[in-house]
Symmetry: C3
Subunit: 135 residues, 3 copies
């Protein structure tokens, strides 16, 4: 696994991490297959969606806020239960095809880090499914 | 990655792509492990759920429509913001176990392509995690 | 794939299966890479989220109940349509990084089996992406 760092600037924000993941793929020996992009945090997620129009991720954040309001009588004392729920709705990882050593995404797809309790310093892990020696 | 094509016939529709994925698995060299099924579109998703009763996916579409209405003051000018949000709620890919060269799913499970802005011609990518020569 | 069994005790319940998955990883030959944790049931899901405060998964169950009520005029005659929908919102599998033969999770992360129609006897499959001989 290769670790990459990023900083989020808003309380809730989708950050395009496609360039970071592409950089990690270049550092891995993988030529053809798929990489695992894994988010080790519990108040953030990962998703793949449109990157051409920034309004798409704006709308996505707004819908998620409507479905899972920040204050709603949650028990979790830390006050960020909504961020945990949104993290699970998006998911903790994405798998991305790789061809000829490069990420292979659909025309409009970007890989988004979904910050739900920022701003914070965050990390991403990028790796292949089997890196055992001799495999 | 092997590419498979499909056509959706409704604006919103779950299509059972288990046979298409099984066909792709037969074309791959993989014997035991897991395949990545990847959807390269941003207004469609993939999920694994019950295939015995068609009412299950009907109910799922209805719940998603209730949670993410088609019209709700979205900013995205193309008018299909709801389809993008539903795509991320379902996810862009599924991993499916393979044993003896065949898909290994639970008794009631099928692989569903989730169309949220059809009807359209769509593509699916099916591949293994590491196809580098010599691996 | 290694199969592990578990029993759920409530109608809806998140069960920490991290120890079960860690046990399976010990039984697999994988040293460095990632494992697929796959749930073969259609009224249960898998997610990765905080394990330190049990209120987090309590809040998550409560939010999901609010979004997808148990009774809401569903068509599915078996009466558990809500469980199927929640299963797809969480997802049927998670990928977890492995390093030096051990699960590699973020500080607060645990792997949760999400029961939405229990109590039941359930199964989990844990495996690597490519176990073909000679790979």
């Amino acid at each position: 696994m290769i670790e990459k760092a990023l900083s989020t600037r808003e309380h809730a924000q989708f950050v395009d991490v496609t360039p970071l993941v592409a950089e990690a793929v270049g550092e891995l020996a993988l030529v053809d297959g798929a990489v695992l992009v894994f988010n080790p945090h519990t108040t953030a997620g990962l998703t793949i969606n449109e990157g051409a129009d920034p309004d798409v991720v704006h709308d996505m954040l707004a819908v998620l806020d409507g479905l899972v309001p920040w204050r709603a009588g949650y028990r979790h004392a830390e006050g960020n239960a909504a961020a945990h729920v949104k993290a699970s709705l998006m998911g903790s990882s994405v798998m991305v095809p790789v061809k000829g050593g490069r990420l292979q995404l659909g025309t409009w797809q970007k890989i988004w880090f979904c910050e739900f309790d920022g701003p914070r310093r965050r990390r991403l892990w990028v790796g292949v499914a089997d890196q055992s020696p001799g495999s």
